[in-house]
Amino acid sequence: MTPLADIELEISAAAAMDDAKTGAERLLGLGEDVVCHWIAAHGETPTTDSREGFRLLALHRQGAKGVPSFNACRETCRELAYHLNLISAKPDHPEVASRLQMMGLIATHLYLFIAGKLEESELGDFCCSSRPLHAAE
């Protein structure tokens, strides 16, 4: 699993790869790694299952259990899967480089969202409500 601190730079490198298909596969893998960090931080073992053909979607489902606000990155994960399909289906498309760049921005968003939630995981289990306050009720 790529260390969390290295993921942002790894995303930039993958999004700039000449071989778009390899870059897209790497970006999907980095997306999986980010979600794995979230799951591991909650004391669980990241699943190796897949959903709709993608481990990332199974990982997202696992990561969202009991944490409704984690669903705010559901479509971001789905967009990563979509972009992998888009790039893999037509690796010679004239816009493949910009598609890979866009996939890099999507992966960056997933990283920033989850890194932010990890940083504040002591503070909340929902972006608008606080776990310690509820626990004290």
């Binding site: 409704p68 669903n71 705010a72 990155c73 479509e75 971001t76 789905r78 967009e79 979509y82 972009h83 910009s98 760049q101 866009m102 921005l105 999507i106 960056t108 968003h109 920033l112 969202f113 890194a115 932010g116 940083e119 504040e120 503070l123 909340g124 972006c127 608008c128 409500s129 606080s130 306050l133 009720e137």
Partner: protein
């Protein structure tokens, strides 16, 4: 000649706190668009905060009560069966209150107890339908009705439609969505895309349309919020957009403020303009920028709008 009454032709309007402050331009533009389209808004009497983030942190059931009071006034004191809330936070909270009151007897008991103490009739689930400003125009006028009223086409404007993360989540509180063709989708929302396309705009493929804007981190980790916004704006520009259209005052303020902060703190440059979808629709319907509050936006779009013949 009497026109056939429109669906949502006269609804209770719940602007919420943000639209009286940072989202004032959204309030003005929503009301202006309503006037032009002949959709009447009657503001809920003596409304209160929906409970937003602050009360939810202290006691979620108290937040449910606060939202239920707004719906109770609309239904029991004003006789409305529809409440329109343009703010994603208010819309989400009223929908959540509706869901909890239908499914959780404990919540019902708390709301009954507080309503009785407050001296007003208790809101009962099903008394009103809560809708968003997008539903209001989409269902009330529709694309064809809008097209027929367009005076200044938005042709030549490329728009990234940004819905934010609360408009469609959690799915279970929006039972009317995901009902097949014509209904809104929680996976790929499209009502704003549909309306702006009807007004002549060109919607771009924008993969971050429901991604988090970092609003919840704004005070605790401003840099994280700024980076999330910078990423959204980068993606919008990479999609070819001139404008990011918004439908939530919190997302809108976040995008505008962090666009500025991104430049100051990280040297981030972006040219994309940020406008409420109601401002874009208002311009298309022939309303001048000022009544739509365009001058109140932090994101200065006047030169751009002039270049497109809209100001």
């Amino acid at each position: 000649m009497n026109e056939t009454p429109k669906k949502y032709g006269r609804v209770a309007y719940y602007p919420g706190c943000a639209l009286e402050g940072s989202g004032h331009a959204y309030n003005c533009s929503t009301q202006e668009v309503g006037k032009v389209l002949g959709l009447e808004l009657v503001e809920v009497d003596n409304w209160n905060c929906c409970g937003a983030m602050e009360v939810k942190n202290v006691d979620p059931k108290l937040q449910t009560y606060l939202s239920s009071r707004v719906m109770s006034i609309a239904a029991n004191e004003m006789g409305f069966d529809t409440v329109m809330a343009p703010c994603n936070g208010c819309y989400h909270n009223l929908k959540k209150a509706e869901y909890d009151l239908e499914h959780d007897p404990e919540t019902v008991a708390v709301v009954e107890r507080i309503s009785s103490k407050a001296g007003h009739e208790t809101y009962k689930s099903g008394q009103v339908e809560t809708i968003h400003a997008l539903d209001w125009i989409k269902e009330g006028i529709g694309e064809e009705g809008l097209k027929a009223r367009v005076k200044n086409s938005l042709k030549g404007i490329r728009v990234a439609n940004y819905y934010g993360c609360m408009y469609t989540r959690p799915r279970h509180i929006f039972p009317e969505k995901d009902q097949g063709p014509g209904s809104e989708s929680t996976l790929q929302p499209h009502f704003m895309d549909d309306l702006l396309a009807a007004a002549g705009a060109e919607n771009v493929d924008f993969p971050l349309k429901t991604a988090c804007c970092g609003g919840a981190h704004t005070l605790s980790d401003s840099d994280m919020s700024t980076k999330l916004v910078m990423n959204i704006l980068r993606a919008a520009e990479a999609s070819g957009a001139d404008v990011v259209a918004t439908e939530c005052p919190t997302c809108h303020s976040g995008l505008e403020m962090h666009q500025v902060r991104g430049e100051k703190r990280f040297g981030f440059k972006s040219k994309v303009k940020i406008l409420y979808f109601t401002q874009l629709l208002g311009l298309a319907l022939g309303v001048k920028p000022k009544p739509l509050g365009v001058h109140e936006n932090i994101s200065d779009s006047m030169d751009f709008l002039k270049s497109k013949g809209l100001a």
